[in-house]
């Protein structure tokens, strides 16, 4: 039983492994054959080798990034939920807030980095806020659109049962938004790690972003890519978790 389950999971991961390996292989071969200079694009084997050599530093820098990612994403989820509910209950808020949120998504880091430093310094907080800022919007759009997708019949039924606005929301609109929520979650969690890395460019002592910046400025593209490998791996794990959660949360879809 246990063994077959493990084998089943491995089977599910197989196509992913194949395609990722194929890309790595193609890259290795391309670098080899085209004679691309390692100052521009080191071969994956070299990236892995050098990354492994630098694993202690990489790990030490992955920690703060992961912390910012997870806390920021948690904040993002919480605030997307709160705002989506507010917008659902007070429709004029939708027209009032959406433009503000859209604008918030268009602020390039160079423009706001000085302010972030001024207001929040170099600790974990500004990174958390930036991750939340970047990942918040997809969740919000998904939730708001999800609520709107609710079947009218269900809402009428609930109202006939004496459910108030909140009851209808909780028992019909919220569950109806689940598939949208998960689409948004998968989009948004994909951005969370990158957002944390970018957030570090606004000023940080440690983190994958700082590591990347250093590696780049010290002309070590192999280490840049090693850090990118780590961030990709983190993202893939988070993405897989989100996808797994989706399967678990909608058992009626599987039955």
């Amino acid at each position: 039983m246990r063994l077959s389950a493990v084998r089943h999971q491995a089977g599910r991961a197989l196509p992913a492994l194949v395609s990722v390996c194929a890309i790595l292989l193609a890259w290795e071969v391309y670098v080899d054959l085209a004679g691309v200079s390692p100052t521009l694009l080191p071969a994956p084997s070299r990236v892995v080798e050098q990354g492994w050599a630098a694993r202690a530093v990489l790990l030490a820098n992955a920690g703060p990034t992961l912390a910012a990612t997870l806390s920021g994403f948690a904040l993002s989820l919480a605030s997307a939920f709160v705002f989506s509910v507010a917008i659902d209950f007070v429709p004029v808020l939708r027209r009032a807030l959406f433009p503000v949120f859209v604008i918030s998504q268009t602020l390039p880091l160079v423009a706001i980095a000085p302010l972030i430093v001024l207001w929040f310094g170099f600790g974990l907080l500004p990174k958390i806020l930036l991750v939340a800022l970047v990942t918040f919007f997809p969740m919000l759009v998904a939730l708001v659109d999800g609520y709107e997708s609710t079947d009218d019949d269900l809402q009428r039924l609930l109202r006939s049962m004496g459910a108030g606005r909140a009851g209808v929301f909780r028992r019909a609109r919220l569950p109806s938004a689940l598939p949208y929520f998960f689409a948004g979650l998968r989009i948004s969690i994909t951005y969370a790690v990158v957002a944390a890395i970018f957030a570090e460019y606004a000023g940080a002592q440690r983190g994958l972003g700082i590591f990347i910046l250093n590696a780049k400025n010290n002309f070590r593209p192999d280490l840049v890519l090693a850090a990118v490998f780590v961030s990709s791996a983190l993202t893939l794990v988070l993405f897989a978790l989100a996808a797994g959660l989706q399967r678990l949360s909608m058992p009626w879809r599987r039955a």
């Binding site: 200079s37 100052t39 521009l40 170099f122 910046l213 780049k216 192999d222």
Partner: protein, 315 residues
Amino acid sequence: QTSARTTVKMALDWTPNTNHIGLYVAEAKGYYKEAGLDVQILPYTDTSASALVANGVAQFGILSSVGFFTQRAAGVPLQPAYAVVQHETGRVVFDGTRADIARPADLDGKTYGGFGTAWEDALVSTIIKGDGGKGEFKTVTLGTSAYEALASGRVDFTLEILTWEGVNAELLGRPQRSFTYADYGVPDQYTTMIGGMQPWMEAHPDTTRAFIEAAEKGYRFAAEHPEEAAEILIKATNGMLSNPALIKASMAALVKGQFLIDGDGTIGAMDPARITKMGNFLFDHGLLRDGDGKLLETRPDFTGWTTNAYLSPQD
């Protein structure tokens, strides 16, 4: 003469600024054309100029001193052929109203707003130690926002290019003070240089010479007519240099500090002894690594790392 001009691409290290003045003047004054060249100044990119040069995207690029040493040690045969500035233009800056910072040793335990190079660490600690301090400080990597962070007091000190950020601080009337690296045991260096790949330049000596001479002519003109050169730069960059006062003041500082042409009339040329000194400094501080990221074990012979061979015949 009009027909077959050789196309040459030039990569920048930063957004267009007064360090690039000669390149733009040479274009505007037709020096490239006279030399039979069609020079394209590539847009500034995230990718370092040396990487662009090393991979043939550009034939020439603005190389930073430390960047060059790092790359050459790692086996990339870059070779500077022209020193844009004759002396170090960088310095340590901090809020001039700070009573607790009087000398580099006071920087111990303070927060440094940095740019993410290994060199900075060696530089700053050498300066502090050179003043009798411990050389211990906290680094926050900031990149572009370092100066705002300094102005808002979030960091205690940072580095600047005195002919750019320094001039701006002066224009804004910021009470800023500074320490000069060379005063505390760091060798003087040609902070900004023009170079290419040594094999390529050796294979194309005429083109290289034509380009370096034209650039030299441009820089000489700029040094002699800073106001006019500033206008040329502003015009050539299509409104991107949105702070004309800064350009003019920066040009004045470059001239006044004898950066473009040294007091003895030297322009573009590099003293091999100075190069070796800087190379040794970097080697001694463990900043030179080979292509596999391992520390260089033997001290390289730095002669031949730079060249003056393509400059106009010195008078």
